[in-house]
Amino acid sequence: MKRVVQLLLAFWFCLILIERAYSQIPPDNPIRMAYLQNDIHHLPLWVALEKGFFNEQGIKVEIAGIFRSGPELMSAFSAGALDMAYVGEAPAVTAVANGTANVAILAQVNTEGSAIVIGKNSSITTISGLKGVQIAVPGFSTVQDLLLRKAVPQPSAASDGVKVIVMKPPEMIGALRTNQIDAFIAWEPYPAQSVSMGVGKILASSAEIWKNHPCCVLVVDRSFSKANAEKVERIMRAHNKSIDFIRAKPEQAIQVAIKYTGMDEQTISRAMRNVEYVSNVNIEGLKEYVKFLTGFGYIKLNNLQSFMEKIVY
């Protein structure tokens, strides 16, 4: 027994020595980046990776996580597993306001780019016709959750209210096809895919609900940015170059999107028509998100202005 204890202590001591040795090596660690699975809004990241824009800036980027929703991604920031990410503005704001992540918004990624989809045989023709229907959202406190509440101000349990169910976007199309749900709201390319598959039709794009609404943003962990300000600047240059590339060479951008989503060209082309890629942060839109989230009781803020200073890089 004594020998076992001695061996365990020696092993533990060796582990500590190894850890200390590695921590002394000045690392040139790649930036740990994340994005949302199949989210066409994050095309600028994919373009930057494929076209070598990060390499041009002398930056190594490693994809540390591909997530199915924004809140999941923000949990990874809480765990210290990410340095930067492409993510929805709503989950980023929620995480910062509720103190679970300390990130700042570096740049906008896109505006618009979501849609409400109904069954292809549905008789509903306007948003006001969404009474008593079961509609799926990717999660509470997502951009799509806010868009739905903006479109249908009183989703409720009343008999003619909209009944909200949380599902991941890949599951929404199957649920719509089998009439488990009457509609869904999701980011592109899932609305476009539902049309391509002959399952659904677009009731309203998010632009019709809220013109030029901000959607996804590029965020950075604050402690990472303090220690790596130069790298952060280079990432932003690569990001801006990606956005310019998508605008100038949409056909090549489509091919990149096909590679990262596995979807067909028709679906991707249709999806990209609904997305506006921009890099300047929409401050007024961000404030509106904050007010929404506060109104729904998801977050509580003492001072909007100080929060804005905290969350914008």
């Binding site: 509720n98 992540a101 909200v164 949380v166 488990q180 009781g297 977050i299």
Partner: protein
């Protein structure tokens, strides 16, 4: 009281460590934060407007249905499998093939077969509870001392008498073990099954996932504590019921 002392000391230590800043609250909320979160779940709800008592009722309803179905099917089948070797040989390969598949792996196909809502949730819970109930029941029958059966036959007991007066009482301890294990698995399965596709908007698993979406780790942990307490209470009730119907113990 003494048996709860280690738990109380652990909670005090936890609070002390959190108060001293060893753990940021988003990593490990303190006991006081969790109590405040519990109050918020009672009065405000998660998501806001969906109060805790409704989440509890819906979860209990789902687990009640799934567990009851598991017992209604599992106990008679277990008794038959234990008593009739041909039943055992017939069903055993199917059971051993299906049993290792985790109930959660059934979720995607259950939703396709049964839709989103109570039926798929009950099916998943049923799968979780069924096998412990079945196998412990069969094991209970197989472990009955053959001398008791021979003694009953000597006293001219019919097959029906042997079944109801020897087998069933003799298997009760194992049946209850199976039910307690099955209920535990059912409860765990329920919460995970409620992570996605909850139509009614209520359920403890759904509540926890929403708390995650809204980045409220205090409410996540409060929800986990509630789940643990309910599971403990259900198990206590099962043990009390077992004691009441086995006076010979």
């Amino acid at each position: 009281m003494g048996r709860y002392l280690p738990l109380l000391l652990l909670i005090c230590l936890w609070q002390l460590l959190c108060s001293l800043g060893f753990f940021p609250s988003y990593v490990l909320p303190s006991p006081i934060e969790i109590i405040n979160a519990f109050q918020a779940l009672l009065t405000i709800g998660m998501p806001p407007g969906h109060l805790l008592y409704n989440h509890v009722l819906y979860s209990l309803y789902r687990v009640g249905l799934g567990f009851s179905l598991a017992c209604v099917l599992g106990i008679p089948l277990g008794l038959l499998m234990g008593w009739f070797p041909q039943f055992y040989r017939l069903f055993s390969p199917i059971i051993e093939l299906v049993r290792p598949i985790p109930p959660l792996a059934w979720i995607p196909i259950a939703i396709v077969w049964l839709g989103i809502g109570i039926r798929s949730a009950v099916f998943i819970i049923f799968l979780g509870a069924f096998f412990p109930v079945l196998l412990n029941t069969a094991s209970g029958v197989l472990s009955i001392n053959p001398i008791l059966v021979d003694a009953a036959k000597t006293l001219n007991a019919t097959q029906k008498d042997i079944f109801f007066k020897v087998l069933v009482p003799g298997s009760l301890p194992s049946i209850f073990v199976g039910m307690r294990i099955g209920m535990g698995v059912a409860w765990m399965t329920l919460v995970a099954a409620e992570f996605t596709g909850v139509k009614e908007g209520y359920g403890l698993g759904f509540m926890i996932m929403t708390a995650r979406d809204i980045q409220r780790p205090d409410e996540i942990l409060a929800g986990m504590c509630i789940i643990g307490m309910i599971g403990f209470t259900i198990d206590w009730l099962l043990r009390r019921w077992e004691s009441s119907i086995k006076p010979w113990e």
